[in-house]
C-alpha cells in the first residue's frame, strides 16, 4: 500500500515537473476565457508562422482573473483573453494589464472597440439583437429593446439568466442610456413578459422560440449562426424558423460587446504577446473569427461571412465598452430588484 502511494505521488510530481517545463523557451503564455476549440486553431497558426510556442490555459474569466491577480508579478501569463469587455475593464482596474502602443493594432481596431490607453483591444464583435419566430411576429413591432417591456409581449419572451455576463452588459448599456429608474421599470416589465423562468444558454432560447414556447428571444447572433451550420438537421431546422431584428436603429443602436485581450502587467514575453495580439487582429485571423466562429470581425475591411451578411448591416451602440464594466454591479442589482433570476 505504502509503495503504491509513494509511486502515485512521485508520478504526479513528475507530471508537474513536465508541465512546468513546457512554459519555458521562446513562448508566449495565454490565459483564455475563450474556449480551447474557439482559439487553439488560431494559436497553432501563429506558432506555424512565427515559431513562437503558445502555452494555453482556458477557464472561466473571473477565476482566471483571480489567478492572475494572486500570482502577481510572478505570473507566467503574458496575455489575457476574455469574451466580454466587462472583464477586460475589471482586469485593467485591478492592475494586471499594461498599456500597449502598436500602430498595427491601432489601425486594425476601431477606437470604440479598444481601451483608450491600450490596456486591451477588442478582437471580435458580438451583437445581441432581438430574435423572433418568423411565423408569429411582425418585426416592425420590435423597434427597440425598450419595447420588450410592452404588455403586448406578455408571456412571450425567453431570455437566459441574469447571471450571464451578456445580459449584465446589455442592462449596463441600458443604464448608461436611460438611467437607473427607467431601466428598473423596463426590467420589471421585461420580467413580467417572460414566457418561462430563465434557464439554459442562448441556443436554448432560440430553440424555445423555434419550438413555440415563446415568440421572442434575446441572444447573441453567432449562436444562431452555429445552429444554422450545425451537423444536426434538427438544429438547422429550428434555426431556420427564427429571424433577427436589429433594435434601436433610430437611436443608440443595437447592443454589441467584444471579445478581446490585453497584455499582462507582469508579461515576461511582452514582445511575443504583442505580436500575438497583432496576429489576432490580422486579416487572416479576423477572417477565421468571421467564418468559423460566425462573429463579426472587429477589423475594418474584413467582411463577415456570407450567412452573417444576409442578416443585414446594422447600427451598433457606440457606448464606450469600458463603461459597461463600470456599471456592471449596478446592472446586477437592478436585475435582482426586478426579479430577473
Amino acid at each position: 500500500m505504502k509503495a503504491k502511494i509513494l509511486r502515485g505521488t512521485l508520478g504526479v510530481l513528475a507530471l508537474a515537473a513536465g508541465a512546468a517545463s513546457a512554459a519555458g523557451g521562446d513562448a508566449v503564455n495565454v490565459y483564455s476565457a475563450r474556449k480551447e476549440a474557439l482559439i487553439k486553431p488560431l494559436l497553432d497558426r501563429f506558432t506555424e508562422q512565427t515559431g513562437v510556442e503558445v502555452n494555453l490555459i482556458t477557464g472561466a474569466a473571473d477565476a482566471l482573473l483571480k489567478r492572475l491577480e494572486s500570482e502577481g508579478r510572478n505570473t507566467p501569463a503574458d496575455l489575457f483573453i476574455t469574451v466580454d469587455a466587462g472583464r477586460l475593464h475589471r482586469a485593467k482596474r485591478v492592475g494586471v494589464l499594461q498599456p500597449v502602443r502598436s500602430p498595427a493594432l491601432e489601425a486594425a481596431v476601431p477606437a470604440s472597440y479598444r481601451d483608450p490607453q491600450g490596456y486591451w483591444f477588442g478582437l471580435s464583435l458580438r451583437a445581441r439583437p432581438i430574435m423572433y419566430g418568423k411565423d408569429r411576429v411582425d418585426p416592425a413591432e420590435l423597434s427597440a429593446y425598450e419595447a420588450l417591456a410592452d404588455e403586448r409581449w406578455r408571456r412571450r419572451i425567453c431570455v437566459r439568466s441574469s447571471d450571464n455576463i451578456y445580459n449584465q452588459s446589455l442592462v449596463a448599456a441600458m443604464l448608461i442610456a436611460n438611467g437607473p429608474d427607467r431601466t428598473l421599470a423596463w426590467a420589471r416589465g421585461l420580467v413580467a413578459n417572460f414566457a418561462r423562468a430563465p434557464k439554459g444558454g442562448d441556443r436554448d432560447q432560440i430553440k424555445a422560440v423555434a419550438a413555440g414556447q415563446c415568440d421572442i428571444a434575446i441572444a447573441n447572433t453567432y449562436y444562431l449562426g452555429q445552429m444554422l451550420t450545425d451537423d444536426d438537421e434538427v438544429q438547422r431546422e429550428a434555426a431556420r424558423k427564427v429571424a433577427i431584428v436589429w433594435p434601436n436603429q433610430a437611436g443608440r443602436g443595437a447592443h454589441v460587446n467584444v471579445s478581446g485581450a490585453g497584455v499582462t502587467a507582469a508579461a515576461a514575453h511582452r514582445d511575443q504577446a504583442v505580436a500575438l495580439l497583432e496576429f489576432l487582429a490580422s486579416e487572416e485571423a479576423q477572417q477565421w473569427y468571421a467564418d468559423v466562429n460566425i462573429e463579426y470581425p472587429v477589423r475594418q475591411g474584413t467582411a463577415p461571412s456570407a450567412m452573417v451578411a444576409e442578416w443585414g448591416s446594422f447600427k451598433a451602440d457606440t457606448v464606450n465598452l469600458d463603461q459597461l464594466g463600470e456599471y456592471n454591479a449596478e446592472a446586477v442589482k437592478i436585475m435582482d430588484r426586478a426579479g430577473w433570476k
Binding site: 502511494i5 502515485g8 505521488t9 508520478g11 504526479v12 507530471l15 508537474a16 508541465a19 512546468a20 513546457a22 503564455n29 474556449k35 480551447e36 476549440a37 474557439l38 490555459i57 482556458t58 477557464g59 472561466a60 473571473d62 477565476a63 482566471l64 483571480k66 489567478r67 494572486s70 500570482e71 502577481g72 508579478r73 510572478n74 505570473t75 507566467p76 475589471r90 439568466s161 447571471d163 455576463i165 449584465q168 418561462r196 423562468a197 430563465p198 434557464k199 439554459g200 444558454g201 441556443r203 436554448d204 430553440k207 424555445a208 419550438a211 413555440g212 414556447q213 449562436y223 452555429q226 451537423d231 444536426d232 434538427v234 429550428a238 454591479a329 446586477v332 442589482k333 435582482d336 433570476k341
Partner: protein, 559 residues
C-alpha cells in the same frame, strides 16, 4: 511477556498520542488553509451589498438551498436504502447484477446528467416535440413536468448521489450477522419488523454517513443549479463575487453555506455518538437471502430496474448516441492524453487522500484532544464548498508563499524563483485533497468504527505501538472500507471541474474540462465523447468496488 510490560508502564503511551496529535493537527491546519482563507474575507467590510441581498435574493438562496437539500435527502435515502436492502438481503431475478450495477450512476457527473435529461425532456427536445406533433398540441394545451426547475435539480442530484447511501447502507446490511436477525425472529418479529427495528437502526450510522456525503455534494453543486436557473447559495456566491464584485460578501455567503455543512456534520456525529455498534462476534455469518415471490418479486425487480434505467442507462445511452455521431472529429491524440492525465491525477490524488484520511481517522481513535478533532472536522469542510471557492482559497496562500520566497530571494541573492507551487499539479492535487478529504475520511472512519475498541486494547496490551496496531490489525480488517474510500475519491476527482479548470498548468487538459467546455457552449453532442469517457473510466472502479464487497461476503460465508 517482556514487551507488554514495557507498554503497560504508561509513559510511552502518553507521549505517543501527543506526537500523533501534533502531526494530525498540522496536517489538518494545512488542509484547512483554503477554507480559512475564504473565511478571513468575512472580516472585510461588505459595503451595502448585504442590504441589497437581504432585500432581493437572499430569501430565494436560503429556501432553494434548503428545499434542494431536503429533496435530495429524501430522494437519496429512499432510493439508496430500499435498493441496498433488497440487493443485500433478498433474492430476486437480477439481484446479483443489480448489486453492482446500482453503483454505476456514481460515475456520471451531475451536470452531465442534467444536460442529457434536458436534451431529452425539454420543451424543444424530442419527447415533447413528438407529443406536440403527434397530438397537435401547442404550448398551452398540455402540462409536462419542467425538467429545468428546482424539482428537476432534486431529481438529477438524487439520481447520481444515491449511490453514496446505497454503498454504505448495503455494506452495513451485509455486515449484520445472521445471529442478530435470528434472535429477532425468535423474539417473534416478522421480516418487516426486524428490518425496521433491528437492521435499520444498526445500519443507521452508515446510512447517515452516506447521506451527509450526498448532501455536502449537493451544497457544493454549481453546474446543475446554474444550468437549471435555480438560485442557490452557490450561484449566489458566484453572482456576488463576480457580478457584484464584492468578495467579502461572497465569502460571508460561503461562510453561511459552510454553516449548513457544519450542521450536517454535527448531525452525523450525533447519530454515531448516541450509539456505537461494533461487530459482536468474529464468526458472524452473512444473512441468508430471503427469496421473494409474486408481487414482491415484481416490485423489487421493477424498483431496481427503474433506478438503474433513470440513473444510468438512459443518460449513458443518450451520451453514446451523441458520441457515436461526433466521435470522428472529437477523438484524437489530444483526447488520449486527456484520458491519461485524468486517470493519473485521479489515481494520485485518491491514494494521497486515503493515506491522510487513515492517519487522521486513526489518530482520532487514539482519543486525542478535542482541538485536534475539531481540526480534522475543519479539514473535511472543503467537501461542502464549491470548487471555485476552494480554488481561490488554494490560489491565494500558494501565490503568497511563492511570491514571498521569490521576493526574499530577489532581495538577498538577486535571483528570482518565480512561482514554485502555483500553477503546478501540486497545487491542483492539494485542492483535490481539500475538496475530497471528507469522502475518504468518512469511509475510513465508518470502517474503523465497526472494529471493537477492545481489539485495540488487546493489541496494545500485547505491546504493539499505535502504528503497528493500525498496520497489522485495522488495515487488514477494513480493506473494504479503504478500497471504498480510494475509489470514491478517484471517481470524484475524475468528475471535478471548477478547481481543475482554474488551477491546472499550461496545456494540461482533463476529460471533465473538455466535456464542460463544449457542453457550456451548448455543443452537447460534441461534449458527449469526453463525458462518456469519464463515465466509462468510472465504471471500472465501481465494478471493482462492488466485487470487493461481494468477495468479503463470500469470504465471510466460508469461515
Amino acid at each position: 511477556m517482556q514487551p507488554s510490560a514495557v507498554a503497560l508502564t504508561g509513559a510511552p503511551l502518553r507521549f505517543r498520542p501527543s506526537t500523533w496529535g501534533i502531526g494530525i493537527g498540522v496536517a489538518a491546519l494545512v488542509l484547512a488553509l483554503p477554507v480559512l482563507t475564504v473565511f478571513s474575507f468575512v472580516l472585510h467590510p461588505a459595503g451595502d451589498v448585504w442590504a441589497h441581498l437581504a432585500e432581493t435574493v437572499l430569501a430565494d438562496y436560503v429556501t432553494n438551498s434548503l428545499v434542494l437539500m431536503l429533496g435530495v435527502a429524501v430522494g437519496t435515502t429512499t432510493i439508496g436504502v430500499s435498493t441496498a436492502w433488497l440487493t443485500a438481503c433478498c433474492r430476486f431475478t437480477g439481484q446479483r447484477f443489480f448489486a453492482w450495477a446500482l453503483l454505476l450512476p456514481l460515475a456520471i457527473p451531475a451536470y452531465i446528467i442534467a444536460y442529457t435529461y434536458t436534451g431529452m425532456l425539454d420543451f424543444a427536445g424530442p419527447v415533447q416535440t413528438l407529443l406536440r406533433s403527434a397530438l397537435g398540441w401547442s404550448r398551452d394545451d398540455y402540462w409536462f413536468p419542467e425538467i429545468r426547475s428546482l424539482g428537476g435539480a432534486v431529481t438529477m442530484l438524487s439520481l447520481v448521489l444515491y449511490p453514496y447511501v446505497y454503498l454504505l447502507a448495503r455494506a452495513a446490511f451485509l455486515d449484520q450477522s445472521v445471529s442478530i436477525i435470528d434472535a429477532s425472529r425468535t423474539l417473534g418479529y416478522g421480516p418487516w419488523a426486524s428490518f425496521l427495528l433491528i437492521s435499520l437502526p444498526i445500519a443507521r450510522p452508515a446510512i447517515i454517513a452516506g447521506l451527509s456525503l450526498a448532501l455536502m455534494e449537493t451544497l457544493a453543486d454549481y453546474g446543475t443549479v446554474q444550468y437549471f436557473g435555480v438560485s442557490t447559495f452557490t450561484t449566489g456566491i458566484f453572482r456576488t463575487w463576480f457580478g457584484l464584485g464584492d468578495s467579502a460578501a461572497a465569502a460571508q455567503l460561503s461562510a453561511l453555506l459552510m454553516s449548513f455543512a457544519l450542521a450536517l456534520m454535527a448531525l452525523e456525529r450525533w447519530s454515531r455518538h448516541r450509539a456505537r455498534y461494533h461487530h459482536v462476534g468474529q464468526r458472524s455469518q452473512p444473512l441468508v437471502l430471503r427469496p421473494l415471490s409474486g408481487w414482491r418479486h415484481a416490485v423489487a425487480f421493477g424498483l431496481c430496474a427503474l433506478v438503474l434505467l433513470a440513473g444510468f442507462l438512459l443518460p449513458a445511452a443518450q451520451l453514446a448516441l451523441w458520441a457515436f455521431a461526433t466521435a470522428a472529429r472529437t477523438v484524437d491524440a489530444a483526447f488520449l492524453r486527456m484520458l491519461v492525465n485524468t486517470l493519473a491525477l485521479a489515481g494520485g490524488a485518491s491514494a494521497l487522500a486515503l493515506a491522510i484520511a487513515l492517519f487522521m481517522a486513526y489518530g482520532q481513535r487514539l482519543r486525542l484532544s478535542p482541538l485536534v478533532a475539531a481540526g480534522v472536522r475543519l479539514a473535511g469542510m472543503g467537501y461542502a464548498v464549491p470548487g471555485v471557492v476552494i480554488a481561490v482559497g488554494v490560489m491565494i496562500p500558494f501565490s503568497w508563499l511563492d511570491n514571498t520566497v521569490d521576493a526574499w530571494l530577489r532581495a538577498t541573492f538577486g535571483v528570482s524563483s518565480g512561482l514554485l507551487l502555483s500553477g503546478t499539479l501540486v497545487a491542483l492535487v492539494f485542492a483535490y485533497l481539500v475538496r475530497f478529504l471528507a469522502v475518504s475520511l468518512q469511509t475510513v472512519e465508518a470502517g474503523l468504527a465497526r472494529i471493537r475498541p477492545t481489539m485495540d486494547d488487546t493489541a496494545r496490551s500485547l505491546g504493539y505501538r499505535p502504528l503497528e496496531v493500525l498496520a497489522r490489525i485495522h488495515v487488514p480488517v477494513m480493506k473494504g472500507s479503504l478500497l471504498t474510500g480510494l475509489l470514491l475519491v478517484f471517481v470524484d476527482v475524475m468528475k471535478e471541474l471548477p478547481a481543475t479548470l482554474v488551477l491546472r498548468p499550461f496545456n494540461f487538459n482533463t476529460l471533465a474540462v473538455r466535456a464542460w467546455e463544449l457542453a457550456s457552449d451548448e455543443r452537447l453532442a460534441d461534449s458527449a465523447t469526453a463525458a462518456l469517457a469519464i463515465v466509462a473510466a468510472g465504471v471500472g472502479p465501481v465494478i471493482v468496488l462492488s466485487r470487493s464487497i461481494g468477495r468479503r461476503l463470500s469470504a465471510a460465508s466460508e469461515r
